[in-house]
Homo-oligomer: 206 residues x 2
DNA sequence: TATTTGAATGACCGGGCGGTCACAATCGAC
DNA sequence: GTCGATTGTGACCGCCCGGTCATTCAAATA
């Protein structure tokens, strides 16, 4: 990002950020069009490329902003993370959904950031935020003494489960748009599923 | 697909199918280029658009072919599906990975078909193959008498888990390319995780 | 008011896209 | 060998892309 962008009035900066965030969130990096971004932001194309030297740089800037918004929230939750794995998943999911409730635009951009996208962008994101993303580690310091099986198996299950949850949340957020209702419905379902995971599917043996 | 395509020598048809399948599998519908497809297939662009009236039609044709390849395999497995949900997941996952082993190209195209892609293509795929895809229903006829909680909670957990498994498999197949080894490693991990799901994470209460 | 100066603009560039079409090549019938 | 029909070809079309830059505009200085 160029200094000239930093010097811009806040309102104009906001318009540009919002337009770009929205476009990237909806279409992904490759599908996003700088023409649509400038039209939505109400600026000329020349200006956009004075503020940011390339589409890549604009995307990276938004990624930085998004991480700066999200990481502190996540860290504050993680600081108080319980050692029980199921509780941990519950709290983590709640943190993620809270981020969505507070700012859907950042949330959807963030989710898009983590998967599909051009290779060189993926690598740059990882170089810049890999450590911070690693911070969202669900597994360190878990109390595994009561696990029936190797901890790594448990972690694998949870990794898979979380991938599914992430996808479910992403789909939900593109349909339901009352954040309060969405959160309530989601947390209820998550609770029963976590209970299930903890105790297994079946009643204990006779 | 035009009749002129049907009349083509099998070897030429195969070249075109393989080139297109590969391109779509690698880049998705939007990212795929008909220019690269004709170059890889060794035909002219004019020919491709004589055989198929549009990129859309080519994609739909490949989807039909892929489904014709995959559905019978899935159905034969489903016919013998046990009523126990965990066994069922195991068998289903094995069926999917077997499809990958037998034909990686179809497999990756198929996986890409199910998510990312242009809207109108998604809808056409669902109109044509929605029912067949519904056939891969894991949940009908499950023995839920011993479930501790409502069946729908169990099914939700499994839906999430499967989304995670699907993603894991997709990532694995882009790194490891000895199908035999891949299958073995995956099935081992799947087994312990299924056991976990069945009995829960923790040892039974003291 | 005239002059300077930095920001804003949008026509324009080269390139890739999906798709077309006038023409060339090929083949079978006689 | 000739001729009509079918198939194959690639230059070309209009469009949109990311990115550039000569020009215009607006505000501060003198």
């Amino acid at each position: 990002m160029n200094d000239s962008f930093r010097r811009l009035p806040d309102e104009k900066k906001r318009r540009i950020r919002d337009a770009a965030l929205e476009e990237f969130a909806q279409r992904g990096f490759d599908g996003a069009s700088t023409n649509r971004i400038v039209a939505a932001a109400g600026i000329s194309k020349g200006s956009l490329f004075k503020y940011f030297s390339s589409k890549d740089e604009l995307y990276i800037y938004l990624a930085d902003e998004t991480m700066a918004e999200i990481i502190p929230i996540m860290k504050s939750r993680i600081a108080a993370l319980p050692s029980d794995i199921a509780e941990r998943i519950g709290l983590m999911s709640e943190a993620i959904i809270d981020i969505y409730v507070a700012n859907p635009r950042y949330y959807r951009f963030f989710m898009g950031m983590l998967d599909a996208g051009a290779r060189h962008i993926q690598m740059e994101i990882m170089k810049r935020h890999g450590e911070a993303l690693g911070f969202m580690d669900l597994f360190s310091g878990v109390d595994d003494r009561r696990f029936r099986l190797p901890a790594e198996s448990v972690f694998l299950l949870i990794k898979w489960l979380f991938a599914g949850i992430k996808q479910e949340l992403f789909e939900l957020t593109s349909v339901q748009n009352d954040p309060g209702l969405l959160k309530q419905g989601f947390m209820e379902r998550l609770d029963t599923v976590l209970d299930l995971m903890e105790h297994g599917i079946y009643r204990s043996e006779a």
